[in-house]
Symmetry: C2
Subunit: 319 residues, 2 copies
């Protein structure tokens, strides 16, 4: 049995998993990311989680064959060049982790890690192109053509979250307006849910969540299930925007499979059904060409950890 | 010397060029497309232009080594599956042209043809990725990665003109709202120019064009050059939207070169300068990564003809 460590540094959590050679998670743990704070602290805490995972599973660092880590934002040559959600710039995250762990660490974009995990573990017949989007703290994206991650000439492509779908719309910390992730990230959905609660004191969401502060995407989907009109309106707007972003990717890349992962995707059919309806209703004229299969990620929250581990394996062992 | 025929079936003109093995146009001609009309008539007239080009240059059809044709819209297996701008659906255009010309004809998307022409003729060091957009009757797009056109699993990708940048905005015949080409095609620019003239009776554009009907993109750029405020506002809005679409492509694909062709691009620096300023001002935080080179097509209107000819050559001769 070979062991790999997969690290997922997110805007919300620092998660680490011990992964076997088949991409199965043997044991994992996490702690809150508590950003913004210096990269040194983030990496120090991440290393603590790594060591805890190994200790709890009962193996040593020497038994780990390779380590990979995924981070949101622009990643290049082991650096987090810019990551809005981590509030980091030009941070040598790979080197900091290597110093903490005394081992080589391969750093990649978290959405690329998740996509690579999904692509390597969930699909026997590799779809081509394979496009993955992640609806988490932000919205990440990844493009795999001919089995390779295609992140452009500087490695920072696939930033679907910062493509604009509503120019002049909601302001984004990236400096533009109307970015896809301002409408379709998990954070945006949560914010819209809370705003809808503030506007609708009679909404079932109050009863389900207790307070606006406790409301999450789960609150919204449960309220929709129980027929709450205010929740339904939030979901309708969310799905409308998601369909725009997904359809943009389809128009541009015509992937064989477009895979949706991240926290919001855990809603399952409650998300996929209205999205599929919206996508089908969106294109007025049908043609005879085969259409993209839009599906939900199978690995759930583990895709980032598994993908980071498998990517680290590929880069460090060439497998 | 080897001869190739390149055909460019556009929403405005049917253009044909005789091209040599270096991608140089030896002679060309065109006639108005006069759409909508049946595919049979379009192909019949296209064949007339082909024969006129050969006769005027003084060679016979037997001396032509290969023939390629580019069409707007979804092209698959020799069919125009759907082309909004030509008002065609499931039209066997390759077969119709072959019948008229008694020769093999390779059919491809016109934007792909133009991009392939630009890519093969204008660049010694092949940029990777290379992305091209065409600002013509519509807005076409093409993605070349590893030297191959990447149009997705069904061949219909690269439809940048029908990605949405202003959801809920201008209606598009494709059935959606806010499509990129509703703001940035040559036709849209012309329509916006005429609308601005109607609103601004004192505009210099009246003097330059004589009437609203005669106003073109050229009228607009000449008026801007002479300081006309109404024209400047139209251009500002055009460039703002163009920058959004271009930046979306950069965020997603990070091409080494993004090349802008089509009628509007003939404005040259009058377009490229404000676009570059807008793109530079768009991203709030600078990072240390190399940035996409945004440039204008060098082949002008000939890219579609040359690319179609070179693509026909590659498909029919394997060169």
């Amino acid at each position: 049995m070979k062991y790999y460590l997969g690290i997922d540094i997110g805007g919300t959590n620092l998660a680490v998993g011990l992964v076997d050679e088949h991409g199965r998670i043997l044991h994992s743990d996490s702690m809150p990311a508590r950003v913004p704070r210096p990269a040194e602290e983030l990496c120090h805490d991440t290393a603590l989680v790594c060591r805890k995972v190994l200790a709890d599973y009962g193996i040593t660092m020497e038994q780990v064959a390779a380590i990979g880590a995924g981070c949101p934002g622009l990643i290049h040559d082991g650096y987090v060049v810019a990551a809005t959600n981590l509030v980091l710039r030009n941070a040598p995250v790979a080197a900091l982790l290597e110093q903490e762990l005394d081992r080589s660490v391969t750093l990649c974009n978290d959405a690329d890690a998740a996509a690579y995990g999904e692509f390597t573990v969930s699909w026997d017949q590799k779809p081509d192109p394979f496009v993955a989007i992640t609806l988490g703290t932000g919205v990440g994206g990844s493009i795999i053509i001919d089995g390779k991650i295609r992140a452009g000439f500087n490695g920072s492509g696939g930033e679907i979250g910062h493509t604009v779908i509503r120019a002049g719309g909601r302001k984004c910390p990236c400096g533009r307006t109307g970015c896809f992730e301002r409408y379709c990230s998990g954070s945006s959905l949560e914010r819209d849910t809370r705003a809808a609660m503030a506007r609708n004191k009679e909404s079932l969401m109050w009863e389900l969540a207790g307070s606006a502060k406790n409301a999450t995407a789960k609150t919204l989907f449960r309220a929709v299930e129980q027929g709450d009109p205010a929740a339904q309106r939030v979901l309708d707007y969310y799905v409308e925007n998601l369909a725009v972003g997904v359809q943009n990717l389809i128009k541009l890349l015509q992937p064989e499979v477009l895979c949706i992962g991240g926290g919001v995707s855990y809603a399952g059919d409650a998300l996929l059904r209205p999205l599929t309806e919206k996508l089908n209703g969106m294109v007025r004229r049908r043609n005879t060409l085969p259409v993209t299969m839009v599906t939900l990620a199978r690995l759930k929250g583990e895709a980032g950890i598994i993908g980071a581990a498998m990517w680290g394996r590929r880069q460090q062992e060439g497998v």
